[in-house]
C-alpha cells in the first residue's frame, strides 16, 4: 500500500516544528489541537459539528479531489461522538426524558466522521469506522491494505481522529490515565512518573496500490493487544524476521514513548530488538497521547521520508547515523 497525500491537524501550528523553543505547550495540562479556519466546510455545517468531526472532516477535505475521487473512506477513532453522547445524556437527565432535540444523538454515533465525509464528498463507496481504542487506526490501516489487495485500481481515504472531550477527559482522569503534576511537554520524557499528557488531532492519508510518485509504502503491519512485555518482544521479533530479513534496512524507529513510566518498558523492549545504530525518534511531546496518535506518527514518518529532515528534539538515540531515507 502506497501513501500519496497526507494532511494533519495537531497541537502544533507547524506539526513538525524544528525548534523546540517554539513548540506549543499544554494549556491546563492538555495539548489542544490548533484548528484551522476550516474554509472547506460551509459555516452553517461547521457550527453544528463537534470537535472530532470538525477535525476529521477538516483534515480530509483538502485531500479529496473532485476529479479523482477516492473509492472509500476508512476511519479509526476511539471516541468519535462520545462528547455528543454525554451532551445527549445530560439532556436526558436534565429534562427527565422529556422532549429532547435529536442533534446530539445523531452526532453521537461512532461512525459520524466517516458518515459525514461520505455525505459531504458524495462518496458511495466503502465506508467504515474502527473504534478499537489504541488499535483503532491500526485496524483502519489493515482494512485499507485488504481493500487494496482486493481492488488494486482503487484509492482510499485513511485517517485517525480523536479529541480531548471534557467528559472523556474526566473519565480518563478517574482512570488515572494522565499525569497528576503540571509538566511541560518539553520535559515529558524525563518525568519519571505514571500517566501521560493528553493530546488530540487528526491525520489523513490518500492510499492506493500505485507506487508512482508515492510518498511512502506501508510494507507490513502487525498488531497485538497485551499487558505482557515479553509477548510484545516475541511478536516484534517474529515480525522483524518476517519483514526485515536484511536487518540493516531500518534507519529509523519511531517510538510511541509518552513519558508514562507504566508503558515505558514496552517501548524499551522494542528498542532492544533493533540494531544498535538504528536511530530512535519520539514524537508524543508534540501531539500528546491519544488513542489514534499513531496516525500522526505515520504522518511524521511520511513527512520525514519526504523532506529527509528531522527536528533535533525528536531524537532519542543515534542522531548522528547517516540516513538513507529508507524507513
Amino acid at each position: 500500500m502506497y501513501i500519496h497525500k497526507i494532511y494533519c491537524i495537531s497541537p502544533q501550528q507547524d506539526p513538525l516544528q524544528a525548534d523546540i523553543e517554539c513548540i506549543n505547550e499544554p494549556v491546563d495540562k492538555k495539548l489542544l489541537a490548533v484548528e484551522p479556519s476550516y474554509e472547506h466546510i460551509p459555516p452553517g455545517v461547521l457550527r453544528r459539528m463537534g470537535k472530532s468531526i470538525r477535525m476529521g472532516v477538516g483534515t480530509a477535505l483538502p485531500l479529496l479531489d473532485k476529479i479523482n475521487p477516492v473509492d472509500g473512506i476508512i476511519i479509526g477513532s476511539a471516541n468519535a461522538g462520545l462528547d455528543e453522547c454525554v451532551k445527549f445524556l445530560i439532556q436526558i437527565v436534565d429534562y427527565d426524558e422529556g422532549q429532547l432535540t435529536p442533534g446530539n444523538f445523531v452526532q453521537s454515533t461512532g461512525n459520524v466522521i466517516a458518515g459525514q465525509l461520505g455525505l459531504i464528498s458524495k462518496n458511495k463507496g466503502y465506508n467504515i469506522t474502527h473504534m478499537h481504542q489504541g488499535l483503532a487506526f491500526e485496524n483502519a490501516v489493515i482494512d485499507a491494505i485488504m481493500q487494496l489487495n482486493t481492488n488494486p485500481a482503487h484509492s482510499y481515504l485513511l485517517g485517525g481522529v480523536d479529541e480531548i472531550s471534557p467528559f472523556h477527559y474526566n473519565i480518563e482522569t478517574l482512570n488515572g490515565a494522565y499525569k497528576k503534576e503540571d509538566i511541560s511537554n518539553k520535559e515529558i520524557y524525563q518525568s519519571n512518573t505514571p500517566g501521560c499528557l493528553p493530546g488530540e488531532g487528526a491525520a489523513m492519508f490518500v492510499v492506493s496500490a500505485d507506487k508512482d510518485a508515492a510518498i511512502a509504502k506501508i510494507k507490513a503491519i502487525q498488531t497485538i493487544h497485551t499487558d505482557d512485555v515479553e509477548l510484545v518482544k516475541q511478536q516484534l521479533q517474529l515480525f522483524l524476521e518476517k519483514n526485515n530479513q536484511d536487518s540493516d534496512e531500518i534507519d529509523l524507529f519511531i517510538s510511541g514513548e509518552n513519558g508514562d513510566t507504566r508503558t515505558l518498558p514496552f517501548y524499551e523492549a522494542c528498542e532492544t530488538l533493533l540494531n544498535t545504530d538504528t536511530t530512535v525518534l519520539r514524537f508524543k511531546h508534540l501531539c500528546g497521547e491519544y488513542a489514534t496518535a499513531s496516525a500522526i506518527g505515520l504522518w511524521y514518518a511520511c513527512q520525514i521520508l519526504q523532506t529527509q529532515e528531522i527536528p533535533p528534539h525528536l531524537f532519542k538515540k543515534n542522531q548522528q547515523k547517516k540516513r538513507t531515507g529508507i524507513f
Binding site: 473512506i73 476511539a78 471516541n79 462520545l82 453522547c85 454525554v86 445527549f88 445524556l89 445530560i90 436526558i92 437527565v93 426524558e97 422532549q99 429532547l100 432535540t101 435529536p102 444523538f105 445523531v106 452526532q107 453521537s108 454515533t109 461512532g110 461512525n111 459520524v112 466517516a114 458518515g115 459525514q116 461520505g118 455525505l119 464528498s121 458524495k122 458511495k124 463507496g125 466503502y126 465506508n127 467504515i128 469506522t129 474502527h130 473504534m131 478499537h132 481504542q133 488499535l135 485496524n139 489493515i142 482494512d143 491494505i145 485488504m146 482486493t150 467528559f167 472523556h168 474526566n170 473519565i171 482522569t173 478517574l174 482512570n175 498488531t223 497485538i224 493487544h225 497485551t226 509477548l231
Partner: protein, 396 residues
C-alpha cells in the same frame, strides 16, 4: 481466495437464550417484544414495547461466572453468545487463544446502557464508579479477549446499525488476506435509556408493536441481544460440521443524510449489488432476503424500492424486527444466525405484525412459516451515517 465457512453460531435475544430456542420461536412466530422494561427506571416503561432479553444482570453474572467488577450487560450478552458459538464450533481453548484467531466485535452502545453511571463519571471529580473502563464500544471486546485469553487481531467496528455485518465482513477479509487463520465475529447491544430517548427524539419509535413493511407502520421497537459466529477456512475444516458458507459481502454508503436513506436507496442498492458480485451470483439465485425492515417509514419504503430496483420481482423476504425489535449493533450478527438457520433447515419464518403492503411497491413479506429450497440468503443491515451492508450466506 479461501472459502469462508461458519462452523459455530451463538445467539441470545428477546425470543431465546440459545440458537435452539431462537429457532423454535422463529418457527412459531413468537414475538418477544413487550411493554415491559425492568433493566433501569425510565419514563417509557410500560408505555412503549421493547425487545428485552428476559434475564436479569444478576442471573447473567451467575450463569456466566462473571466475578470481576465493571462488566456491563452489553458485555455479558456478548459473552453468552460467544460461549455458545465456540462450543458449537468445537474449537478448543488453545485455538481460541492462538495468535491466529481474530476477535472482531461490533456494538453501538458499549457501556452506555449505564446511562446514570456515565452521567456521574463524566461529571464527577471524586470517586468514579466501577464502570469507568467500560463505557466505550471497545470495552466489550477487551472483556471477551481477556476472558478467553485471546492474542490475535482484535477490533471493534461501529457503523451504527450495520456494525456487526461489517464485523463479519472484516473477520472474513482478515482470513482471506493472511491476518488470521480463523475469526470469531459478531455483535451485541443492550437496551439503554440513551438509545430509547435518542430514537424517540427522532420520532421513529413506535408505541405499538412494530409492523415491518406494513403500509401504516409507525416506527421501530428497540431490542437487545448478541450473536457470534466462528469463521473457518475451507482448508482447515478437516471434515467438521459446517453451518453455511459466507459467499458475499459488501459495504456501501448512501451519502444522503445522517439519519435517513435517500429516496432512490443508492446505498442499499449498491450494498446488495456488491454482495452479489463478490458471491459471483446473479440476483435470481437469491432465494430469501432477510431484510433490514426496521418498520420506520423511511427504511422500509427505501429498502423495498431498492429490492425492486435490483431484483425486479424480489424473492421471498422477511424482517425479524417484529420478533425481537431492532437490536442495533447486534442486528447484523443476530440476523446472520437467523439466515443460517433458514439455510440449514430449508425453511423461512413469518414476518410478524404485517397487514397491508406499502402502496408504492406492493411488496408482501413472507407471512407463514414454510419449508422451501433455500440455497442463498441475503441479509441486509443499514445504519445512520448512510452505512449500508449486505451479506450473502450460502448452503454448505
Amino acid at each position: 481466495m479461501s472459502k469462508i465457512f461458519i462452523t459455530g453460531i451463538g445467539v441470545i435475544s428477546a425470543i431465546g437464550n440459545s440458537v435452539a430456542e431462537n429457532h423454535e420461536a422463529l418457527k412459531a412466530g413468537v414475538c418477544g417484544i413487550k411493554k415491559e422494561l425492568d433493566l433501569f427506571p425510565s419514563k417509557y416503561k410500560g408505555l412503549m414495547p421493547f425487545g428485552q432479553v428476559p434475564i436479569s444482570n444478576e442471573s447473567l453474572q451467575n450463569k456466566l461466572q462473571v466475578k470481576e467488577p465493571g462488566v456491563t450487560r452489553t458485555s455479558m450478552l456478548a459473552l453468552h453468545a460467544f460461549n455458545e458459538a465456540v462450543r458449537c464450533s468445537g474449537i478448543t481453548a488453545d485455538d481460541i487463544s492462538s495468535p491466529e484467531t481474530a476477535l472482531i466485535g461490533a456494538n453501538t452502545v458499549g457501556g452506555m446502557c449505564l446511562t446514570d453511571e456515565l452521567y456521574h463519571d463524566a461529571n464527577t471529580s471524586e470517586a468514579g464508579s466501577e464502570y469507568t473502563h467500560s463505557y466505550d464500544c471497545a470495552s466489550v471486546n477487551l472483556f471477551l479477549q481477556k476472558h478467553n485469553k485471546m492474542q490475535g487481531v482484535i477490533n471493534t467496528i461501529n457503523t451504527a446499525c450495520s456494525s456487526s455485518a461489517n464485523a463479519i465482513m472484516y473477520g472474513a477479509m482478515l482470513m482471506q488476506h493472511g491476518f488470521a487463520k480463523r475469526a470469531i465475529v459478531g455483535g451485541t447491544d443492550s437496551l439503554a435509556k440513551f438509545t430509547i430517548n435518542g430514537f424517540n427524539a427522532l420520532h421513529i419509535l413506535s408505541s405499538d408493536l412494530c409492523t415491518p413493511f406494513d403500509e401504516s407502520r409507525k416506527g421501530l421497537n428497540l431490542g437487545e441481544g448478541a450473536a457470534f459466529l466462528v469463521l473457518e477456512k475451507e482448508e482447515d475444516l478437516n471434515g467438521k460440521k459446517v453451518y453455511a458458507e459466507l459467499t458475499g459481502y459488501c459495504n456501501a454508503n448512501d451519502a444522503y443524510h445522517p439519519s435517513s436513506l435517500s429516496d432512490e436507496g443508492d446505498g442499499p442498492y449498491l450494498a446488495m449489488q456488491g454482495a452479489l458480485k463478490i458471491a459471483d451470483l446473479t440476483a435470481d439465485k437469491i432465494d430469501f432476503i432477510n431484510a433490514h425492515g426496521t418498520a420506520t417509514e423511511n427504511n422500509d419504503e427505501v429498502e423495498s424500492r431498492a429490492m425492486v430496483r435490483l431484483f425486479g420481482t424480489p424473492p421471498v423476504f422477511a424482517s425479524t424486527k417484529g420478533n425481537i425489535g431492532h437490536t442495533l449493533g447486534a442486528a447484523g450478527a443476530i440476523e446472520a444466525v437467523y439466515s443460517i438457520l433458514s439455510l440449514l433447515n430449508q425453511e423461512v419464518y413469518p414476518s410478524l405484525h404485517f397487514k397491508n403492503a406499502i402502496s408504492s411497491t406492493g411488496l408482501i413479506p413472507v407471512l407463514e412459516y414454510k419449508q422451501m429450497p433455500v440455497n442463498h440468503v441475503m441479509s441486509n443491515s443499514f445504519g445512520f451515517g448512510g452505512n449500508c451492508s449486505s451479506l450473502i450466506f450460502s448452503k454448505a
